[in-house]
């Protein structure tokens, strides 16, 4: 029995803000230090310690919220979220409850392969909070204890909560890709998932179209996904699981408490975790140790004005001004602003966006990847590459040898003219081309006969011979010229 249904997905993303020091103290946020070497009385919640807000963390969150088209309330405050866990030494997490620093924004997502329609995913809110520490379970040794490292405690996080606006795992993936790209462009986080700088939880359920009307399955929160690919796969799994579970039990939303499930990457399944405490059980109340923050319209306007061009705007500009496809624009913009600037310089230098895009994608990016380099380390300036593309366009350098010239330029740091000279490449003038073709046709009567018999492809046999006699000739020129000469013969 097939049944029509809609998948409903909302995402909660925790992103670590790129600060030197923690949210409420001056301990370093550096990753990978020995355990418990980056803590102080504020981190450990010692009596009498007073937290003070990190200015830069607030600025970064403001920048993010503005880039996500959020409203910035004039007044925001801090709340304590109470729960007991060994990696939370104070017994509460400083977070924001009823008056978050931003709300009601959106992020536009699109697919360059048109697998879904461009849409705005609502941002419910983005609020600041401190991270907890890390528990390590010494299961292998069979020890009864857990070990606690509090280095991470108090690290500034921005929790970005989306509306349940995504309708497929693919859309969820697109949202995450776009969000990460945006955060990287505006420099607020390194978004490194391996180091925990970006974490994703997903809420998912199904809206089924049944004979008795619309029925929703219980909402499940999925955790423990350590890559965007894992998010996509966990959601796809969860869709199948919820559908099967509904067919078996008919369980719908409200019948059971909200369930949390963890993604098991190796088994490729989600597994039930302990049931989540009700939100009211966190017993939020305003933190008396921290004063509120007020923000003026002028401040917000200033942040908005100082924002760099965001990925979405950049993509449409490349499509419009450089006449490249949305797909190509996406590939280039995904590489970061430095690659975009390099591309633009090549495009403007050679006057051909499409060719510039081809060269950057095919040759430059491939080369960077092979050598594990960034564009700043790349051995050829955009001006040099533009000159190369220009030579090809002008017909001074044949396409068949352009790759060779590119390699030479890169290896020797020479410009296109010097590289062509060094490789002995020069434009073959028309009379030399005529002579060569005449000679080839005279020496190959069978090819001439084949072409005259209608097999134009036979001419291909002459290209290799021509290249041997003069490596500078262009295959296209040889082909065109020889065909024209044969046509004149008959």
């Amino acid at each position: 029995m097939s049944i029509e249904f809609e998948t409903i997905i909302g995402l909660e993303v925790h992103v670590q803000l790129a600060t030197e020091s923690k949210l409420f103290c001056r301990c370093s946020t550096k990753f990978g230090s020995p355990p418990n070497t980056q803590t102080c009385p504020v981190c450990t919640g010692s009596p009498g310690a007073l937290p003070v807000m990190n200015r830069h963390a607030f600025d970064l969150s403001l920048k993010t919220a503005v880039a996500l088209n959020c409203e910035i309330p004039k007044f925001t405050k801090w709340d304590r979220k109470q729960y007991y866990y060994p990696d939370l030494p104070k017994g509460y997490q400083i977070s924001q409850f009823d008056l978050p620093m931003s709300q009601h924004g959106y992020l536009e997502i699109s697919d360059s392969k048109d697998r879904f329609e461009t849409k705005k995913v609502g941002i419910t809110r983005a609020h600041l909070e401190e991270d907890a520490g890390k528990s390590m379970h010494d299961e292998a040794a069979g020890k009864a204890d857990s070990r606690i490292d509090l280095n991470r405690t108090g690290t500034p996080l921005l929790e970005i909560v989306s509306e349940p606006d995504m309708r497929s795992p693919l859309e969820a993936r697109a949202y995450l890709d776009e969000l990460k790209l945006l955060l990287t462009y505006i420099n607020v986080s390194d978004c490194n998932m391996q180091e925990g700088s970006l974490r994703v939880d997903a809420n998912v359920n199904l809206h089924l179209q049944t004979d008795d009307g619309k029925v929703a399955t219980p909402i499940v929160e999925v955790k423990n996904m350590n890559s965007f690919r894992a998010v996509e796969r966990a959601l796809a799994y969860e869709v199948d699981r919820q559908l099967a579970h509904w067919k078996k039990t008919g369980e719908k939303i409200g019948d059971v408490p909200k369930q949390t499930r963890g993604w098991d990457d190796s088994a490729e399944v989600t597994k039930a975790q302990r049931s989540k405490e009700e939100s009211s059980d966190y017993r939020y109340f305003p933190d008396p140790d921290l004063v509120p923050i007020t923000t003026t319209d002028e401040q917000v306007a200033k942040v908005r004005d100082s924002l760099c061009e965001l990925p979405a705007a950049l993509r449409s500009r490349l499509v419009k001004e450089q006449s490249i496809t949305p797909y190509d624009a996406g590939v280039i913009v995904n590489q970061g602003r430095a690659v975009v600037d390099y591309f633009l310089e090549v495009a403007e230098g050679c006057g051909d966006g499409k060719q510039a895009s081809n060269w950057v994608q095919r040759d430059v990016l491939k080369n960077l990847k092979e050598n594990e380099q960034t564009i700043d380390q790349f051995g050829m300036s955009a001006t040099s590459l533009a000159a190369l593309v220009k030579s090809v366009k002008a017909g001074d350098l044949d396409n068949s040898r352009a790759g060779e010239v590119f390699e030479y330029m890169l290896a020797n740091g020479k410009d296109v003219v010097a590289s062509m000279a060094a490789l002995g490449i020069e434009k073959v003038d028309d009379s030399a081309l005529d002579d060569l073709c005449r000679e080839l046709l005279a020496a190959n009567p069978k090819v001439v006969a084949d072409v005259q018999g209608g097999n134009q492809k036979a001419i291909g046999a002459l290209i290799g011979q021509a290249k041997k006699k003069n490596p500078n000739v262009s295959p296209n020129d040889i082909r065109g010229k020889c065909l024209a000469m044969i046509a004149e013969m008959s």
Partner: protein, 95 residues
């Protein structure tokens, strides 16, 4: 008034284990405290702005500069159980 179930729930959330006797004492004492505070609800606050903080201050910030942290030895010094690097606590099961 506060009932026994509520006190049991709060104790559970705070990871406190209370004996029946303690539970009875707590229910009585906590009930009195909450009852005392509850007198405030007699006031008419319809036209009063909710207060987010007791002091009239806002925007107190520190600059984003990392400073040296506590020595690990000092940080761990008051822990009831520890090893060379970490605090040790009873096993935290599952996630």
């Amino acid at each position: 008034m506060l009932d026994r179930e509520t006190v049991e729930k709060v104790a559970l959330l705070a990871r406190l284990k209370l004996s029946d006797e303690e539970l009875a004492t707590m229910t009585d004492q906590l009930g009195k405290i909450v009852g005392y505070i509850d007198q405030l609800s007699e006031l008419d606050t319809d036209n009063v702005e909710p207060m987010a903080h007791a002091v009239e201050l806002s925007n107190v910030f520190k600059s984003d500069e990392a400073r040296p942290s506590l020595d690990r030895e000092a940080a761990l010094s008051n822990a009831p159980k520890k090893d060379d690097e970490c605090y040790r606590v009873p096993a935290v099961l599952g996630e």
